[in-house]
């Protein structure tokens, strides 16, 4: 079972539906026991970092997620991916979960590039052996919506998308994975990423 962490941010309908569609058993939950029992965990999220971090804290699940991520695959999506980093500078300064060294920072790009970075952009693999890429190809398109992005060391970046700069698209550190884009909104490519995640041990 894949536990989708429910901490009151964002709409989980599409994520749950896409896992159902793939035949992957999942549960939207904020119950510690479910996270302990699950064989994988997804940390979703939309909205602002500070607010999401506070809500996640109030569930009391942070320590559980940290312990379980030692043993099983964890996937952060969009803001859920940003939460995997050490720190965010979105409207203040907030501490993340620290699975991935680095910070979440504002776009500093030419004015003709609109922010949020919203729409379909191509993935450039930087580590093509990342297990999430089992069923997709370099240059496949995925759907992004975000105003801040993750800045980390190249060894934790599995794919980027170009938007004046190389925007971190996928992070990866051992058991911990994160996608800045929304796989549940990225058509076949997104489904194939979730399928690959579902097959991880």
């Amino acid at each position: 079972m894949i536990a989708i962490v429910d901490y009151g941010v964002g709409n989980l309908f599409s994520l749950k539906s896409s896992l159902d569609y793939l035949g992957l058993e999942s549960k939207i939950t904020s119950d510690e026991k479910d996270l302990r029992d699950a064989d994988k965990i997804i940390l979703p999220g939309v909205g602002a970092f500070g607010d999401a971090k506070a809500k996640l804290e109030s569930t009391g699940l942070i320590l559980v997620i940290k312990e379980e991520a030692e043993k099983k695959p964890l996937l952060g999506i969009c803001l859920g991916m940003q939460l995997l980093l050490e720190k965010s500078y979105e409207f203040g300064e907030y501490e993340g979960l620290g699975f991935i060294p680095g910070d979440v920072v504002q776009f500093d790009i030419p004015k003709e590039y609109k922010v949020p970075h919203m729409g379909w952009n191509a993935l450039d693999f930087t580590q093509k052996n990342c297990p999430l890429f089992k069923y997709i190809k370099d240059k496949d398109y995925v759907y992004y919506v975000h105003s801040f992005y993750a800045k980390t060391e190249p060894k934790y970046v599995a794919a980027t998308s170009n938007y004046a700069i190389d925007v971190t698209g996928v992070v990866w550190n051992k058991n911990v994975y994160g996608t800045q884009f929304h796989p549940e909104k990225s058509g076949e490519v997104g489904l194939n990423i979730l399928r690959a995640f579902g097959e991880l041990k």
Binding site: N11, K111, K114, M118, G119, N121, Y141, S186
Partner: protein, 252 residues
């Protein structure tokens, strides 16, 4: 670079698509789920569902339709039609919509843009505008283009952005249905004033109209159309191949 988006729009009345696609010569398909699948398979980047029912029963059918589509189609879904309160946003977002398009509702109550943006994020809020030239000026029309509000369209677009809209749909009443191309002059005027994504609507008659749109209006992010896709005058896959051949980035 972000790909330019191609967006078909489906009008839904009482849970059925108003203009069905002809699948071969077999039948008119009016089932929204089948039609959404068809568009998804042909490479649509996003789908817009426009609820044109007026009755409560129709609304209920629309909600069921939306849930069924969202369970099987995993690209962004935008819902419009009769959105006049934050509760309306809630109603459709809970059923799988990713964005909500508001038009006349925002003209009568502009604060809805800000309230919805604060609650759900700007990325959820699409301001759709029906615009027509009146004495050489761009004016906002309400109620499906029937009523001149006298509001200046450029100012309204800017206000929408400042209130928190994440995207604008610019529908030109002057070119809508004429099929001689998008309203480039109107689109340029809007793009010059705002920095949020702009979706062009109204006037597409052939593939070349989209090439012209993206080549001449650099600020436009997406092209929206209905009947030319429904009646297969333009196939989305062919269209995207053409666009790419013309040096325009699209998702293929």
């Amino acid at each position: 670079m972000l790909a330019k988006r191609i967006i078909p729009c489906l009008d839904i009345r009482n849970g059925r698509v108003v203009k069905g696609v002809k699948f071969g010569d077999l039948r008119d398909v009016e089932d929204p789920v089948e039609m959404a699948k068809f568009y998804n398979d042909s490479g649509a980047d996003e789908l817009v569902f426009y609820d044109i029912t007026a009755s409560a029963e129709g609304r209920k059918l629309f909600a069921d339709t939306l849930v069924n589509v969202a369970k099987q189609i995993f690209i962004p879904l935008t819902v419009g039609g009769g959105i006049s309160s934050v509760e309306d946003f809630d109603r459709v977002l809970k059923r799988g919509a990713d964005k909500v398009s508001v038009n006349t509702g925002a003209i009568y109550n502009p604060s809805i843009i800000n309230e919805a943006a604060k609650k759900y994020g700007s990325q959820c809020v699409v301001l759709s505008m029906d615009i027509k030239r009146v004495d050489g000026e761009f004016k906002i029309f309400a109620k499906g283009g029937r009523e001149n509000t006298g509001i200046d369209a450029i100012e309204w677009a800017y206000k929408g952005q400042e209130e928190g809209a994440g995207e604008l749909v610019v529908n030109s009443i002057d070119t809508d249905g004429v099929k001689k191309g998008f309203d480039l002059e109107m689109l340029d005027a809007i793009c010059a004033k705002v920095s949020i994504p702009v979706i062009a609507s109204g006037g597409a008659g052939c593939k070349e109209d989209f090439t012209t749109l993206f080549k001449s209006c650099k600020g436009v992010d997406a092209g929206l159309a209905a009947s030319i896709f429904h009646f297969k005058q333009v196939d989305i896959k062919d269209l995207k191949k053409d666009l790419r051949a013309n040096g325009i980035e699209v998702r293929l």
